[in-house]
């Protein structure tokens, strides 16, 4: 029982960067842009967040840096695909390669500059991003660790997902934004400023991906900078969007399930004990492939894939 609760807690932690990535990608796809640059935007966020915290000694500054850097990366993608109508897949893949590259490059540069030869977040920052302990509540059995034992990223992630869901499904802007992803021609004819909202969503999504990246850079390796900290999570996030049927609240569930898969190797029981760790490292990607197969067989009716996803919109095209 104790082990199981520990497993769940670890799963939620490991799922948090996926949650940010997935919500960010949902915002992109809702306006019809398949952004394959999540991995890159997260990598840039990881670097910006870590370096922000390293240089400023302040966790909030680190978060802000990650968010802004993610937005900046998304801006490149948005200019390419919205304004210049470049192919979305190519632009996204380029963003991933560029993002991972520049993140590692800056990391190496900073390490060379550092006297100790390694980069470690200042104690003040690690203090601020430690798990939040709420007196009384956190000490409760079962409920305490399960609900009140996480670092600020986890709560922020759930809050962001909930707010995104509210934005998309409960506001008029959300309705308009969804129309853009379904049929930009119809949205345009209904006098919705298509370009404006595309930029808004893509940039906001990029910022959220950036925060997810900051989790990877700052938390996963315990506050020490190591290259490639995102390590494929961005790709899982892209697939998770389909698993979540483009719904932010489903993304919460989906990312925690995948988080569980990622930490399973540390909590092996029974028949799993003899299996190699490498198998468990591969598991999330295998399940991703299975999810894609199942969802594509389930057909289009249940899953609400934005109908115009992947296509650029040009008003005067005939």
């Amino acid at each position: 029982m104790d082990l199981f609760i520990k497993f769940l807690v670890a799963a939620i932690g490991a799922g948090t960067p996926l949650l940010f990535g997935t919500v960010g990608e949902i915002l992109n796809e809702k306006v019809g842009h398949l952004n394959l640059g999540v991995e890159g935007m997260m990598a840039i966020g990881a670097c910006a967040g870590f370096m922000g915290g390293y240089l400023s000694d302040n966790f909030m500054v680190a978060l802000l840096c990650a968010f802004l850097a993610g937005m900046l990366a998304a801006l490149i993608y948005a200019v390419l695909t919205v304004t210049f109508m470049a192919n979305q897949n190519v632009a996204g893949l380029t963003m991933t390669i560029f993002g991972v590259g520049i993140s590692n490059f800056i990391g190496v540069y900073m390490i060379e500059k550092a006297e100790s030869g390694t980069l470690k977040l200042p104690a003040q920052v690690t203090q601020q991003m430690r798990s939040i302990q709420i007196p009384g509540l956190s000490d409760l059995p079962v409920v305490g660790p399960l609900l009140f034992s996480y670092n600020p990223f986890v709560y922020l992630g759930i809050l962001v997902a909930a707010l995104t869901g509210f934005y998309l499904y409960r506001t008029k802007t959300g309705l308009n934004v969804q129309a853009i992803g379904e049929n930009p021609g119809a949205a345009d004819a209904a006098s919705i400023p298509v370009t404006k909202w595309k930029y808004f969503n893509i940039l906001l999504g990029g910022g959220i991906c950036g925060i997810g990246g900051a989790y990877c850079g700052m938390i996963i390796n315990g506050g020490v900078w190591i290259s490639n900290s995102v390590n494929g999570l961005g790709w899982i996030a892209v697939a998770l969007v389909i698993f979540a049927a483009w719904k932010p609240h489903m993304a919460i569930l989906g990312s925690f399930v995948f988080g569980a898969l990622r930490v399973l190797k540390y909590y092996k029981v029974g028949f799993m004990v003899g299996m190699p760790d490498a198998f468990f490292d591969m598991l999330p990607f295998l399940i991703t492939a299975l999810v894609l197969i199942v969802t594509s067989m389930r057909g289009n009716k249940g899953a609400h894939i934005p109908a115009f996803l992947g296509n650029n919109y040009f008003r005067e095209e005939r």
Binding site: T171, A179, A187, A189
Partner: protein, 512 residues
């Protein structure tokens, strides 16, 4: 002219796309409380002009006045603020949204609650005599319902100037009547309405005035009361055109295709065709009438080998072709040209040029692994010349051609393969008078060559004039096969809605 009453006035509007002049110095005006019909051949610039009024395109030259004031309409938002609403030829609706979500889409202000919104939509429906379920998603709607949503969208925004681009192209005669009743009501409430349609009888019945465009220029406006169909055609084409369709006597008649007790299921499991039996003979045109979705598509696709049949047989020269692949069926000399509602969906690849589209049907006959494009190019040039296809170059993607030209390409290719049986569905869909007559002539030529032609059509007047026999479908059943020379339009109308001929009734009774 009374400035208060003038809704829209266009003065010297010019718009070019690359080297093509779509609109050239157009003059047009419409008053409040008036229905103006805009008439012109395919590619004469009607849609372009309307798109400029609704802010989709921006004119290169010229001035638009709304309610007497000069305005610049640079986006649909501007148009909406000026009270202009457009109902596009291809509906601009979000399929997964409900009727009321589509209606409220993009309107300024706070989102009203679901109940309040439903109330508003219902109220609007009552005011204008419309009928729609506000909570029905668009993908479950019929074409006519979708159009109602489009109209409501415009009304919800308080538009006083309404533009309809070929609203009747996809409607049944009954739905068209309903639409016209709504338009008359809106006119009575003081709206200005511009309607684009190719059907002259509709122009004559609904409009107060007609403005005619020819090759991007406005050739004038006339009061509807003072003109007839022949006069309108003459203005539109530039010279007098005979409006009667030839019907040469069929000769050398023998059965080519025999369909026996054919039953076909639709993808959703319901019966698309239900125990259908008939014959197609060489040297005649067999018309197929029926309300859209009565089994026409299934009939075409089954004969072409695209859909499997549940029961029955299709005998082509005494050989059952059910179960053969489309390729084998084409080799037998059965050729199909199907023009779907969106025109490009089946038969042609939109982004390829003419020669490549020709090759789609003939590349298999080539020797070796390489493609020889020379004959396809020759054929394309020949078709352009023979059918008067207008295109900037034969290599230009077919999607850039106007609808009529696309249909000529499709039908021309099918005819060039020298079929024994030519199936053509809706070949004149959305075409203007002149292009339609070119197509009728083509079909008659085939008939005289001894080809069996199956013509699936919408316009009953045309079916009655062109075909030798007419087969009527209703819910996948044949309600009658009648002689086109003796039957009346009303009789066919009744059969389309399920009334059977005495002969068919007897057959049913015999079987039971």
């Amino acid at each position: 002219m009374d400035k208060q009453k003038c809704a829209i006035r266009c003065s010297g509007i010019t718009k070019t796309f690359g080297s093509v002049v779509a609109n050239d110095g157009i003059e047009l005006d419409v008053q409040y409380g008036e229905i103006l019909a805009l008439l012109g051949e395919n590619g004469s610039g009607k849609t372009t002009l309307m798109n400029m009024i609704s802010g989709i395109y921006h004119p290169d030259k010229g001035q638009i006045y709304v309610s007497g004031q000069p305005v610049s309409i640079s986006s649909p938002i501007d148009a909406q603020n000026l009270g202009i609403g457009m109902i596009h030829q291809h509906f601009k609706l979000v399929e997964v949204f409900t009727a009321m979500e589509n209606i409220v889409l993009g309107t300024p202000g706070k989102l009203p609650g679901k109940k309040a919104l439903k109330q508003q939509v219902t109220q609007l429906c009552e005011n204008y005599g419309l009928d729609i379920d506000p909570e029905k998603p668009v993908y479950e709607m019929s074409v006519s319902e979708k159009q109602t949503v489009e109209i409501l969208k415009v009304l919800y925004r308080g538009a006083k100037i309404l533009i309809l681009d070929e609203p009747t192209a996809v409607l049944t005669p009954q739905e068209t009547e309903k639409l016209f009743a709504i338009l008359r009501q809106m006119k009575a409430k003081g709206c200005a309405i511009i309607i684009i349609t190719h059907k002259l009888n509709e122009v004559l019945s609904i409009s107060d005035r007609v403005t005619i465009l020819r090759k991007g220029k406005s050739v004038g406006s006339v009061e509807t009361a003072g003109v007839d169909a022949a006069k309108l055609t003459e203005l539109m084409v530039g010279h007098a055109v005979s409006l009667s369709i030839e019907r040469p006597e069929p000769k050398d008649v023998h059965t080519i295709l025999k369909v026996v007790n054919l039953t076909v299921a639709k993808p959703d499991g319901s019966k698309g065709l239900d125990d259908v039996s008939f014959q197609i003979r060489s040297g005649e045109i067999l018309g197929v009438a029926g309300i859209a979705g009565s089994g026409q598509k299934e009939l075409c696709e089954t004969i072409a080998g695209l859909l499997p049949a549940q029961e029955g047989a299709i005998l082509y020269k005494k050989e059952n072709i059910l179960g053969k692949s489309p390729e084998q069926i084409i080799d037998l000399g059965i050729s199909m040209s199907f023009v779907p509602e969106d025109r490009l969906g089946m038969g042609l690849v939109a982004s390829m040029g003419m020669p490549d589209n020709m090759l789609l049907k003939s590349y298999r006959k080539g020797k070796g692994p390489f493609v020889d494009r020379a004959p396809a190019k020759e054929l394309s040039k020949k078709l352009v010349e023979k059918l008067g296809i207008v295109t900037s170059s034969i290599e230009a993607p077919v999607r850039l051609m106007s609808g009529g030209n696309v249909q000529k390409v499709l039908l021309g290719r099918e005819i060039e393969s020298c079929p024994n049986l030519l199936i053509t569905a809706y070949p004149v869909r959305g075409l203007d008078i002149n292009s339609s007559y070119v197509i009728y002539d083509l079909l008659n030529q085939q008939k005289q060559k001894g080809v069996a032609v199956m013509f699936i059509g919408e316009d009953l007047d045309v079916l009655l004039e062109l075909c030798d026999r007419i087969l009527v479908l209703c819910h996948g059943k044949i309600t009658g096969v009648v002689d086109a020379k003796t039957v009346t339009k009303e009789q066919i109308g009744l059969m389309m809605t399920g009334e059977m001929t005495e002969e068919e009734k007897k057959k049913e009774a015999d079987e039971a």
